[in-house]
Assembly symmetry: C2
Homo-oligomer: 258 residues x 2
């Protein structure tokens, strides 16, 4: 049973104050993970107030790159500081977490036939060899990845989002369950009520609108579409859902396009 | 023209004081790299006083592993602090350096038929996918790798040495030249005179003794043997040799088994 858990950047950081960990939120998340006793767990976290303002400063996104080494390092180093906070707190609760930094392992290449500026929302253009992550898992460790900059052929470095990593990890690790924790309790319908289950995009098209966006860090529509395409069920929930999700329940919205 | 340059841990740190950068030595090395203007450069550094005492504390070596996440993180985090010092100083001299952390990308597996405790001195058991390093190079960055812990199937994590990384990088990047800077000016003969050139192990067997050791972090004999097996010429020199090596000269000892 392999589980991928994404902790949104807005969950683990104070999004309004640069490079500030949300201590209470991160402690609650780490406690829930520790108490679950789940094995074969991979954690991914977003950037929140660590990654995003540096990325904005240097004009770097999933499609806009930079060849400025100082800019790339500023974004990467900030994400490593957040990752260190997450990994250290997990270890302090006896979760054998170890960092896996995407810049060290991943690379992008525009897919054949892509227009300049277009990336594949499902991450088809991302090379992410997982020998390290798989061997760490096999040895009982909990790899902790994060949104990051990665080398991108022809563009310097671009951003890889936590959500894109989740989709790739789920596929390449043949994950059984995927959980995405954000600050909202699930996917809302038109009345701002959490939808229990989404089996196809038509279920939520009226609430989420257009599904044509290919920006994987962007709106809920693209996220739902990417999660529907996975071979594992995904659960989208708020911070209170981490414990129930790891215990096998279905907090928030279940997204299952299989 | 792809060049791999190893900076020994004893060159960039004060080996006698835990976690202390040798400021003058590292500045001189970084100046020489900056002034050379070499393109397609990969830098690897050793552990010196950052990695080795943590590794010794936790009983971790290239063959002895640990499944203690705290121990693995202590070694890895110390190596990242040294790596950050090297990368930052290179950037401050306008070298577009970016970090590549082996724990994030590499994994080991005992080769078929290996005895427990035995590793292949040439790194045959090390999986080191280089998509990130190659794409960073192609985009004009200077990847900076380092000795580290890596996941090792059946053993938790073990140490990968800077020397082992150099041999693998040279092969997989099809490097044209390899330089290894340590605190000694080259390979000594019996009279402590630097040998100009080594074409086969027989050239230095009387000075270096047995060549049966498989400890890649160990003596000069194993190092010379590994370098002789490469498809690129290697140069072993002291700190003053960095500039001449990058300018195309042959400081210290040239090791060429082709």
């Amino acid at each position: 049973m392999t589980v991928v858990l994404k902790l949104g950047g807005s969950v683990v950081t104070d999004k309004d104050t640069p490079e500030t960990v949300d201590d209470d939120a991160i402690d609650a998340a780490v406690d829930a993970i520790s108490e679950s006793g789940v094995e074969n767990l991979v954690v991914v976290h977003g950037g929140g107030s660590f990654g995003h303002h540096h990325a904005a400063n240097y004009g770097v996104s999933t499609t806009e790159g930079t060849d400025d080494a100082a800019g790339a390092l500023a974004i990467h180093a900030a994400m490593k500081r957040l990752n260190d906070a997450v990994v250290s707190r997990l270890q302090s609760r006896d979760v054998p977490a170890l960092p896996v930094h995407p810049l060290s392992v991943a690379a992008r290449r525009d897919a054949e036939g892509d227009e300049v500026g277009e990336t594949d929302g499902a991450g088809a253009s991302l090379s992410l060899p997982l020998e390290s992550t798989k061997t760490l898992l096999g040895e009982g460790f909990v790899p902790v990845l994060h949104g990051d900059v990665v080398a991108h052929a022809g563009r310097g470095v671009t951003v890889v989002s936590g959500d894109e990593l989740v989709v790739r990890l789920a596929a390449d690790l043949d994950a059984d369950r995927v959980g995405l924790c954000s600050t909202v309790p699930g996917v809302y319908d038109e009345n701002e009520t959490v939808v229990d289950e989404i089996r196809s995009f038509a279920d939520v098209e009226s609430a989420l609108g257009e599904s044509e966006s290919t920006d994987v860090t962007g709106g809920m529509a693209a996220k739902v579409r990417a999660l529907l395409a996975m071979d594992a069920p995904a659960h989208v929930f708020g911070p209170d859902g981490i414990g129930p999700f790891l215990a096998g329940a279905s907090p928030g919205t279940k997204i299952d396009g299989r």
